[in-house]
């Protein structure tokens, strides 16, 4: 794939609002046609700014944004032909649902019959055919969300931007809408750039996820890779739950690092960004990958754990213990029939395979 084949391309884009700090630092991002890419990150990480630059509401301080093979830096928003779903839906309160949907068609001077037909089809797409005459205030949150979604799609844009569109919905509805958006995306084949700070939403919906922090993309990968193979400690911490252990690299052997923890115990971990011995390292391990009382065959090593707290969650038991000097070390113990029940205050052996534990270099 050459660079021109990408549907959207951010090329060394920078953005500063005050001329002092960069909100977006040297952003490079290529998005393929029909792809569902999510920008994920904490608030203030620059993800929404990126979206606004793509929509045309903010101008990059430096760099170039290319859409469909042509730079769009100097094209005003209304000529970009990019659909956008806003956080608060932004349905026009003084227009009915049908008028809202007709708006983008009217400003494109589409004929009346064609407009009516497209509005009808859009309403049918989200099963809201009989709601055309209602005003947005008369709809529930989920219904407003659906209308906002089809309004951004009704003029057949090739690219749709979504700025935390599900943020205002309750959990159940949010999950339902995630599938609905996903289905519409598959059905229409449009390119979607989605912004959220909810990692489970990002994991559920995306083809690829760009994790933002501090104005930089920390990692751009598929949900699976992002979860299984985070490339740095920020991603490891931000995506899913992780236990952190501090230590010093003793030796490196074939991509596996032997690390001495702060309390003196020795463990093995996959060397992700550690490059040489005698450097401090941060180990990251998922709670569900820790095994209690491992038979020595599976685990690379076992170390001591001291159980502090047990929380019963039905399908699993959440266990807080001290491991390698970390008092907040969490282990998820599956609630299986053959598992022995843990007791608070008990000392157990815990272990993991070296591949499940990722070692990152830390600054001194």
């Amino acid at each position: 794939m050459t660079t021109d084949d990408f549907h959207v391309r951010f090329n060394r884009v920078q953005k500063s609002y005050d001329g002092v700090t960069l909100v977006v630092k040297d952003l490079n991002l290529n998005i393929g046609k029909g792809e569902f890419v999510t920008m994920l990150g904490p608030s203030g990480s620059g993800k929404t700014t990126c979206l606004m630059m793509l929509a045309g509401f903010e101008a990059p301080t430096q760099g170039e944004i290319v859409f469909n093979g042509r730079p769009i830096n100097n094209i005003p928003p209304h000529k970009r032909g990019i659909g956008m779903v806003f956080q608060n839906y932004a349905l026009f309160p003084h227009m009915t649902v049908a008028e809202n949907l007709a708006f983008p068609l009217q400003v494109r001077r589409m004929s009346k019959s064609e407009t009516a037909q497209k509005v009808r089809r859009a309403l049918d797409m989200v099963q809201m055919g009989e709601f055309g005459d209602r005003y947005p205030a008369q709809l529930s949150g989920g219904q407003q969300q659906r209308i906002a979604l089809v309004r951004a799609l009704v003029f057949d844009p090739e690219l749709v931007l979504m700025d935390e569109p599900l943020g205002a919905l309750d959990k159940q509805l949010r999950e339902k809408m995630q599938y609905e958006i996903r289905h519409i995306h598959e059905q229409l084949g449009v390119t979607v750039v989605y912004v959220t700070h909810d990692q489970s939403e990002a994991l559920t919906m995306s083809d690829r996820i760009a994790v933002f922090n501090d104005g930089v993309i920390q990692q751009l990968a598929s949900p699976n890779d992002l979860y299984e193979r985070p490339e740095n400690s920020f991603v490891a911490q931000f995506i899913g739950e992780n236990n952190e252990l501090n230590g010093t690299v003793v030796s490196l052997n074939d991509g596996i690092a032997q690390v001495t923890l702060d309390n003196g115990e020795q463990v093995f971990a996959l060397a992700v960004t550690v490059e040489e011995p005698d450097k401090p390292a941060l180990l990251s391990i998922r709670p569900e990958r820790v095994v209690i009382n491992p038979d020595e065959t599976g685990a690379a090593h076992t170390i001591e754990g001291h159980v502090h707290e047990l929380i019963y969650l039905g399908d699993h038991i959440r266990c807080r213990m001290t491991v390698g000097g970390n008092e907040q070390f969490i282990v998820k113990v599956p609630n299986a029939a053959n598992n022995r029940r843990l007791v608070v205050g008990e000392h157990v052996r815990v272990g993991w395979t070296a591949e499940d534990c990722r070692a990152f270099a830390t600054l001194q």
Partner: protein, 410 residues
């Protein structure tokens, strides 16, 4: 079961007690305001209404005639008893100097009555005994004219509509019918029309000038917004009189504006900017502008920027987005601001009186005119009633439509 029922009634009693306490509290809190409103607002307005139709003092000045004239059927001339009563009343009222008042009042209905009463009053003591009918007619032949007696009969009722009718350019004709006054005497209808026209023009000017200001304030940074707000409210820190007078200084022939225009060569003769309609528009728009800007600003603050952004992303140019998406959402502000400005403008007095010419005076000017110069409280009240009715009907017609009660200032 019994116990449940008992506790049920008990519960109801407790609830009633709390509800009653809440009510007493609410009444207690609003009583001072209500008293003030009653004393300084509703009572004066009620008195004004009463004043505009009250005619009772005529019966006090001419009590005997008022009684005697009731017997007369209003056709031709009344009989001797009415003439005799009139003579008796005049004998009493002329030395008391109340006859002139009755004369002024009757003159309002029929010109010539004032001189008739004064002349007759002066001479009535020299009349001999009865019969008086022939004697009075001999004294002045107007006493033999049925028109005067008809006016007198109408003028001795407890209430009268002549002031309210006059305020709308109507009067009674010789047959006691309500007719319009001749065109060359009609003034009030055109004054009412002028009042509405000036108020509408000022409202429109305020809207045209105030809308961009409010929009800028709503979108500016908090710092700029505060400065603008202070500038806007600065208007309220100086008295209305000072502000109006300073417009005269600025706008007069040798004022600041004209000197600037002359020295810049834009005009060769000084413009007439004050003591005419232009001056009224400028000064009133200046004074009333904050009342337009504040409700607009308050509504605009509540419109998040993402509506216009959404419209832009859907393909609308910024102008189309502004007209089709932004302006409709400011409708409540436009309505409320316009209504407040318009209703205030209807009652404006000082500003047009100072910076306007004779043809720019509004209804309130004539209220003041009748109070200060003619000492005709009844006519002043009648015009006041017209102004109140005018204001009230505009409020009722448009107030509900724009949802003025939903507007919060600030």
């Amino acid at each position: 079961m019994v116990e449940q029922a008992a506790s049920g009634t008990n519960l109801r009693k407790k609830l009633q007690r709390t509800v009653r306490r809440k009510k007493i509290e609410a009444v207690g809190l609003t009583t001072p305001l209500f008293c003030v409103m009653l004393i300084f607002y509703f009572v004066p307005i009620g008195l004004m209404f009463y004043r505009s139709i009250d005619n009772s003092q005529m019966r006090e000045i001419l009590p005997a005639t008022a009684k005697a004239i009731q017997q007369w059927d209003g056709e031709g001339l009344p009989g001797e008893p009415a003439y005799a009563a009139m003579v008796a009343d005049m004998k009493h009222a002329y030395p008391n100097r109340t006859l002139a008042r009755a004369g002024r009042r009757l003159n309002f209905d029929l010109v010539g009555f004032y001189s008739l009463l004064l002349k007759s009053g002066r001479k009535v003591s020299r009349l001999g005994g009865p019969p008086y009918k022939a004697a009075l007619i001999k004294l002045d032949k107007k006493w033999g004219d049925p028109r005067y007696w008809k006016v007198l009969k109408r003028g001795l009722k407890n209430t009268t509509l002549i002031y309210l009718l006059a305020a709308l350019d109507f009067r009674y004709n010789d047959n006691n019918r309500i007719v319009g006054v001749p065109d060359n005497q009609a003034i009030y209808r055109s004054i009412i029309a002028r009042t509405i026209y000036i108020s509408l023009s000022v409202t429109l000017l305020c809207l045209v000038i105030g809308f961009p200001i409010a929009y800028y304030m709503a979108t500016a940074t908090p710092r700029t917004r505060n400065i603008l707000m202070i500038l806007l409210l600065l208007v309220f820190w100086t008295s209305l009189l000072v502000r109006t007078l300073s417009w005269i200084v600025v706008l007069q022939k040798k004022g600041v504006v004209n000197s600037l225009l002359l020295s810049s060569g834009l005009v060769s003769h000084p413009l007439n900017l004050v003591f005419n309609r232009i001056g009224v528009y400028i000064a009133m728009t200046h004074v009333l502008l904050p009342f337009m800007v504040l409700p607009l600003y308050s509504v605009m603050r509540g419109i998040p920027p993402h509506y216009v952004r959404a419209a832009r992303s859907l393909g609308a140019t910024s102008i189309v987005a502004f007209i089709r998406v932004y302006i409709p959402q400011t409708k409540a502000g436009i309505g409320a601001g316009s209504l407040i400005v318009f209703i205030q403008a209807l009652g404006y007095y000082i500003t047009p009186a100072l910076v306007g010419g004779p043809k720019d005076q509004m209804l309130s000017y004539f209220v003041a005119f009748f109070v200060n110069e003619r000492v005709n409280w009844s006519m002043a009240s009648a015009l006041g009633v017209m102004l109140l009715v005018l204001t009230g009907s505009f409020y009722l017609i448009f107030g509900r439509r724009v949802g003025i009660t939903n507007i919060k200032l600030g």
